[in-house]
Symmetry: D2
Subunit: 408 residues, 4 copies
């Protein structure tokens, strides 16, 4: 799990140098910043302030924290005569950067009724104006463009969390209110299996474009012969697993997964509900009849693993997934639908070196007890997907757009 | 602890028959209902929605629940052609009346971002209008006036909780925002001890005016000779206890109290803070220099007991307190400043009988592991104090306006 | 709850001066010390070492701790050339006397596999020999006899705990092994109600014989008219309560009691089991058919209270119980069968003063959130019962010989 | 973690066919069975009965459970006229095989004071005699020899746990009693780094000898160039890490590791103690001066990882470790000293297939959130080490003989 922004503390990598020229960057800055606001536009002040669990944050906090990032890591370093918008925000909207002062305890973010959403929007406006002025300046200093890009990538990650966190919140409400963000998914075709032969492959990011440090270095792995499914597991298929007693049969489950099942209040995906014998799903449009052709979403690693076991298949490794993603074969739903659990524990690539210094303080610190998800989801912002991207969450996390692509 | 409204489920007592004639009751209805709104007037929507701990409720919930009471127990029974304002509110704003359908889990009240505060205010307006129409009618049915009075008393109890709950919330915020409700306390004079001889006394409510069932029946007790302090313990006195190592010396504390101390993050009253060697207190006006002449507030029973032990005194029993309150002797701060912990466990008076039926469902159910507080506080609404009133909380509760009056 | 020996830290009271002359005391010392060993005689070393829950202690610990008491409070003060048997035992077998050095954490007593039971028995023999020598000496110093009596009373309290703790342990074992201590109870006659008129009564210990400080001072109380049952509630009667749905109907239960029920693994007394539709009870002879005429045992306060509510009666106050006990009326099973829950919270009698100094360190420290039980049980040693005796446990404790005598 | 015997549920693999001829197997059976008894010989009955934490089991339970394995999986299947030694033992000494009836809850194993150790030894003697008779018979059925070998391998695993569990127990005792099992470790030479070039390697078990299913199938991996340390990290080196503030500097630690540190009662290896400024270690001989040249033991994965980070190195992957182990280069302490944490999450080898049927019920069920340790320890029985062996524990486990071999 990103601990909201584990991805976001990145070093200034020398690999990343393809900085946009200021005019384009300016446009991109404005567009990315606007997207965050747009994702909160249909929410009330109360919706934006509440926190539904420790792992989630209030929308207001996401809006403020992404702004804090620009103020702290860019304006403070590059703005002449820098003065913080509000001294207290530096603590309140820090996430976990130990190097940057005391942080406000995460589980209590929902208690920060002040500053109000209105004040946070004023904070955004203030920082945006100062950033635009800085970027429009003639004297763009070394490292600035990379940091801006990093800030935008960071904000895009939080944009996905805005969606998953607020939907988790609204789902707690017995009224099942609609969030309202459009999130249509194109149906996929029939399931086919694409085969890949054994051999040494290369994975990891290549090229000059932006990437996070965990995608590096590009390196070799030996992959045995495998097959990968052409599309994601559907709701219909997962409903069949449930109907076949999938949640009642220990042999499909990892031992920890079986403990996970024992604590579930209902033996079904987190957002599924049964009404008069029919399945419904909580969606951006509220509680809706379950779309049987759609991809199953919001699964934990345990559920994904148990389903695969039942289906006489398995989850792919991340190397298999990445090889397939760039193979040119006809896969559907690799990106933009649901993150896909892999059986790979989140670990450093060979040769990965934790960077020194403040921004890179925590590079590898989440590389234990988490599992890699590949692809991207319907909530991932435009332009934030690539074949080498490594998302990661603990095995029990199930409030993301996380689904299954089978391997065998 | 009232579990927000343990006080509020009262039977229709035959003792209570002094119903106001409709015109006066109408005025009183409007005035009490307005007071709740007034207490929330200076709060933002976000302030009204958040819940700072399981024991507290959001202000919005208090505003809705008190309205739900009138709708459920009065309009549903007395209004012709009754239709609920919104079917779902019947569950959402129920507190714990098992007899009246499924309730929403209490610790999740802060997640109810919908209905919005605006919708709750519309709910209030709607129920107020219907109530006023009902009360202005010519055909006032038996039992109605008593139920209206009960609803108003119930609402007054929640008015105090609005204050204590929202102040607990605002205190979580590192900005220590001001609530803004005026809460001045007149300073008391020097401490004197008033003596009372041993003998059989009578305590409990008498007369025809409203009271809660736990104040009945009026009965005899034998009280030994005792002395009671003329005023509350001051902040200065309590600071002396701290300075003398009161929180470090086990012998002052009950065994459970010593465990309570071990879990405290700071060894001082909940709202006290030390800044550069000086005491500050979080108040309705934000963080302020501690008023040394003012009463010490927000103490647990454990702290009250330890202070008394240190001061070579003790807490009074509730019988002692009540006898003194009606004695005509010169006591200060009996009412309207701080609730006063007594050493009396909350228990049934001899002859107390749990009522049958829906409203009286839970009359004595909180009579275990709670301690009685007497008097009333600066947050208690006008007209809601009397000598026989029995407030009660668990020994560890410390977010109320709870203080100490010593006995010996 | 005594926290194993909350009763046992007593001051040297001036009221207690009726010390036995040495020869009788010597005989009494030997007899009481032998009783502890007898109660462990049928247990294996493993039985004596295990601890079944935090609230219980291993038998071996009881045997050592009672010995530690004599060594620490008597031999150390009165023996010429005192040297402790083993320095480490002074910590290991201390219970909670903060004034007497570091204690070993209570929940870990079951991990003390060393010293072995054999070594503990050697410790007992050593201390016994030194005590006997001391008591047989010609120069008996002031205060010694009182302390010996206190040590014996203390040991008798632990004798009851040896029985309740080891039965709780054996009950955890699916084999339900028999403990083997004889514990027959004479059946009682038909239920009758004895009436008492209202008036001022006196309760508390009187006379020169030994008592604990919480039984003092003797004082006056006003008691309303009441009736008390002539015998305890039987297993048959309690089975009827269960059959009538007593554990399924919230209205019989205190709110905390209803939470207690929700956490029970079985809705019945702790030692009851159903086999092929019939009730069995775990007894000193293993799992036996439930004796329907016998008293119901091992109830929490919550269960006792719920039963009384269902039976349209109530629990007596401790004053009512004590008045009845000395009234000369025909009550059965007041002593020697089961401790009887009263509705009285454990609190100081008027005029009770916590003693200064080491032994009296903790006199009143358990007087919060516990309820008084009166009488004595089948496990209480001979000569350890009296009408003014105040036993106390938290409302949820149910592994004692605790039953119900109804009042109304 | 093996959940005591996660290793032990193995399928009957066709790969394993090199069964010993009966006479040799008989000798091996007797020798392995004797080793378990030998490891408990210096312990008292009380030592054998206690359980120091949920993750550990009493020695008595290990002695009984290994016997249960032979009775359940071999005698029941192969013995003519099979009758269990004691019906109840089938539940009490089952570990977690859901397919073989109700098991006794693991955290309560320490409460099983009956059967006594003596009865368990009688159980061992009975099953041993029946096994020997069976093995000496003329008609050895198919599959029997493989199951016996599996039972012996299983028992050897529990032999290591007997040592680690009882030492954890004795370490809880303030007396720090000596266990007494000889466990000398030969000192290692100076640290050197052995280099290995990049390339495709093969790992996993090969040959006909016994192995567990998680060591299969043998398969290819691509390994980058690496260096591996010639010996384990010493106590002296680890003490240097502590002295350098290793436990106080977040940047060395995984995020979860930093949380682990926050919960430690002392910031040092579990069995280390400081006395007058010098380090001591709890060993089989009790508390002893820390052997600075000896290997650091009883580290969690978090500590191993933090040390490596501080030392500007890293933990090896399991493939690197295995390649080095069979390389013929001069490594010390690969086996028989301490298990060595690798950075590899415990996962299925490519092509691993979970077996069908009762014994293979749980083959891969622990393959989540655990890390692989390689080598073997001073407590591993003779003949139970091999280069392909995969031990595994959760990252927080630190009561094993677990140490560090660095890579870079």
């Amino acid at each position: 799990m990103r601990e909201i922004n584990s991805w976001c503390v990145m070093l200034e990598r020398s690999e990343f140098s393809e900085a946009l020229a200021p005019p384009e960057l300016l446009a991109r800055f404005e567009s990315v910043r606007a997207e965050s606001v747009w994702r909160a536009a249909m929410l009330s002040d109360e919706d934006c302030g509440a926190q539904s669990m420790d792992d989630a944050s209030p929308v207001k906090w996401h809006l403020a924290h992404t702004t804090w990032f620009f103020e702290t890591f860019i304006l403070e370093a590059y703005e002449a005569g820098f003065k913080p918008f509000h001294q207290a925000f530096r603590v309140l909207f820090n996430s976990y950067y130990n190097g940057v002062g005391e942080k406000h305890p995460r589980p209590r973010r929902g208690l920060l009724t002040r500053p109000s959403r209105h004040e946070v929007m004023a904070y955004r406006a203030n920082v945006d104006a100062r950033m635009i002025k800085l970027l429009a300046g003639t004297d763009v200093k070394a490292g600035l463009l990379e940091l801006v890009e990093l800030g935008l990538q960071h904000e895009q990650q939080h944009q996905e969390l805005i969606v998953t966190d607020v939907m988790h919140l609204l789902h707690q409400n017995p009224l099942y209110p609609a969030y309202g963000l459009p999130m249509a998914v194109k149906p996929a075709g029939d399931l086919r299996w694409h085969e890949f032969g054994a051999g040494v492959v290369e994975i990891g990011h290549q090229g000059e474009a932006f990437c996070f440090d965990n995608e590096l270095p590009r390196h070799r792995q030996f992959v045995e012969r495998f097959e990968l499914a052409s599309r994601l597991v559907t709701n219909a298929e997962y409903a069949e697993f449930i109907a076949a007693g999938g949640y009642e049969e220990a042999s499909y489950w990892l031992a920890e997964g079986w403990d996970f099942v024992a604590k579930l209040t209902a033996r079904q995906p987190m957002f599924w509900h049964k009404r008069d014998g029919a399945w419904f799903e909580f969606t951006s449009d509220g509680l809706q009849k379950l779309d049987m052709a759609g991809p199953v979403l919001r699964l934990s690693y345990y559920e994904a693993s148990a389903y695969a076991q039942w289906a006489a298949a398995r989850l792919p490794t991340e190397a298999e997934w990445e090889v397939a993603a760039v193979s040119g074969k006809e896969f559907e739903q690799m990106f933009g639908v649901a993150w896909q659990w892999t059986s790979s524990s989140y670990a450093a690539y060979p040769g990965f070196v934790a960077a020194a210094g403040a921004v890179g303080e925590y590079n590898g610190k989440f590389m234990v007890n988490q599992y890699v998800l590949r692809g991207s989801s319907v909530a991932t912002p435009e332009g934030h997907s690539r074949a080498s991207y490594r998302n990661f969450f603990p095995a029990g996390a199930s409030w993301q757009f996380s689904g299954i692509r089978l391997a065998r």
